[in-house]
Amino acid sequence: MNDENKPVEVPEELLNQVAVTSMGELASQSFIDKAYNWGRRNSVWPVFFGLACCAIEMIATASSRYDFSRFGMEVMRASPRQADLLIISGTVTKKMLPQIIRLYNQMPEPKYVLAMGACASGGGPFKEGYNVVSGIDKFLPVDVYVPGCPPTPQALIHGLMKLQEKIDSQSIKEVSWYDKENRGDPIPMPVLGPDLMDPRDFSANGKAKE
């Protein structure tokens, strides 16, 4: 038992490339967990939501040559209410950010976010611009990052498989969305003032925090 709980040693260069699930942990996953994860991993429905150039590669991934319906992901839903995965496929601009956050808040749990491309991960080539948010992870919790500009369709599928691995490692007992106390609050909506204004930056008296 102790053995199983011991943290697995992962070489540093692989630290972010592997989901840590020891054999013990996998074995200790109950049958219910496995069935639960099997069902979820094979029916990850993305939101039909394209932002910029990367969205074109996302559509290419969905279409004839790469066809991610082989992973049960072909049902791209235009409504966030019916989707599990938000693929941020492109440059996040300040003007668009409130809408993205609204979309995210409208998605039912369990929900995942995949940052596709340099722009969504960290701002990309347009990072220095006045209307560009440097990475969606400043506002949303991102599960998988796929670098590249644009990532090729195969790179995107690789990222989606990484997401499946992550889903595999979750346990129904621990996931936050059944936990009444710790269920995450919706992300506070930023407001477009003289610049993008995140309510979290402002103290109770409504002044900007340093």
Binding site: V47, F48, F49, G50, L51, A52, C53, A55, I56, E57, A60, S63, S64, R65, A78, G90, T91, T93, K95, M96, P98, Q99, L103, G123, P125, F126, K127, E128, G129, Y130, N131, V132, V133, S134, K138, C149, P150, T152, M189, V191, L192, G193, P194, D195, L196, M197, D198, P199, D201, F202, N205, G206, K207, A208, E210
Partner: protein
Amino acid sequence: MSEQIAAAPVDLISLFPDQVKADERVGYEGFMVEPKALVKVVVALRDELGYDYLSSVTAADYIDDHKIEVVYHFFKSTGGTNLTLSTQVSREKAVVPTLMHEFPSMELQEREVYDMFGVEFTGHPDLRRVLLWDGFEGFPLRKDYKEAYFTAEKKPFTNRWPEGHITRAEDATPYKKNVVYPDNLKPFEEYDPSVENLLYSGMKNFLPEDQRELNTEPVMVNFGPQHPSTHGVFRMAAILDGETVMALKPVMGYLHRNHEKIGERNTYLGNIPFTDRLDYISSMANNFAYVVAVEKLMGPRVQIPERAEYLRVIMSELTRIVNHTWAIGFLLNDLGAFFTPALYAMIERELILDIFEATAGSRMMCNYYRFGGVSRDIPEDAMAKLKGLVYERLPRKIDELDIYLSENEIIRERTEGVGILSPEEAIAYGASGPVLRASGVPYDIRRAEPYGIYDQFDFDVAVRYHGDTYDRYVIRLDEVRQSLRILQQALKTIPEGPVLLKNPYNVRVPAGEAYGRAEAPKGELGFYLVSDGTANPFRYHVRSPSFINLTSLEKMSLGLKIADVFAILGSLDIVLGEVDR
């Protein structure tokens, strides 16, 4: 070419001896007009001299002279080179009369100039910010505007080498979300989260007089920015009476990536990969237009090897095929033929993208053109495959697409007679590319003002005469066929030889201005460049066809059912990277 320009000045200056003078700065050509006389001069230009196509308006901030210059580019719809008209106003009180009533194509563009430079156009009925949101602080393209991650005026930044200790830009600003708040920031609560009131009140103004009071029947509906049929993050606000559109406003800027500001900080060479990301479906064509503009500035000293000229044409025409098949596929998507036509179109696209990948290195962001040539030669196996595609597969597949779709009764009924744009309107609204030609104006820059070696090829300018959605669909098939014709000739006669003579990384161009344009798949893609002789452009403006084609969207949609609006939008074939830049 030069005769036309030489012929015009006499007329204009003799017509308005007091208000117009020739622009005498080194490297500039065109006319300087008094702001007060602008409307008069423009009307004379249009009615007496035949310059009926006002292609673009933009501005440049000459901060050292304390002036903002508003620049207009005119063309004749029968062909020929541009005529530049500029007018200078002071930076503090930048007011220019609107030309929107003479040229409706100015509606969105003047709003853009207002948004970026703070130039006020008196008489414009709906002068709001277009790419940013109302309430934004500052005018970004003025030279004294600095963004939150500002490092230095010009690239290359000196803190990258030799002492390039890495920092993330986030760590440099106080609010790590790349935001700089003004000093006189009001408390958070005072901001209204909906900044759209101006938009809606603006729309009321566009309604007919007796329907101004939105009391009961008409409904305000927003489509987008997250909507599967808007081709990206585009938004339309419409006032509907039942299902009929009574007023419609495009709302854009959700993908405004500050292309021009970044471009002015960047070097000439460094802008090439950024142009890839304008119209990201047809990056090669963007490269082409940009190098045409820069080579125009550089003057005759650039030598382009013959093989490179051929490769430029080949790649640009392949891009047109990619773009048009994609556009057809997604137009059908919008009509409700969910995805099957798009999937078939995408097969051909993927095969062509393979060739791009083998030649330029990337499927989408090709970064292939250089000043004075192209970056690499096409490998032999890719050439063999390309020949197979051009001579055998693509003609067959285009015919298949034609059989598959063109006679389909549902498509015809949904598109024929819908969204009609007459030739006069098309010109007045500044439409270009397939949209203009589907309205019966045979205007194609490859013929009207040939660039590259297009004058050596035998092809027809595709033109259709109804100006409806169906014609805008069929004309794309026609154009693909013409592109194949060009390709077939080019592949037969392409000579051997080098593709690039020299490739310096510190490109400098002489001081002056230039407006270079090319027939991109979506229409006239123009680049307005002002050089001050340094390694970075002083002004870098993109005249984007998608953006300007949207000006006529409202005109085409009024009185139609809301479902038709999506068909019209699909037939305009916009790409948001280019609309918002």
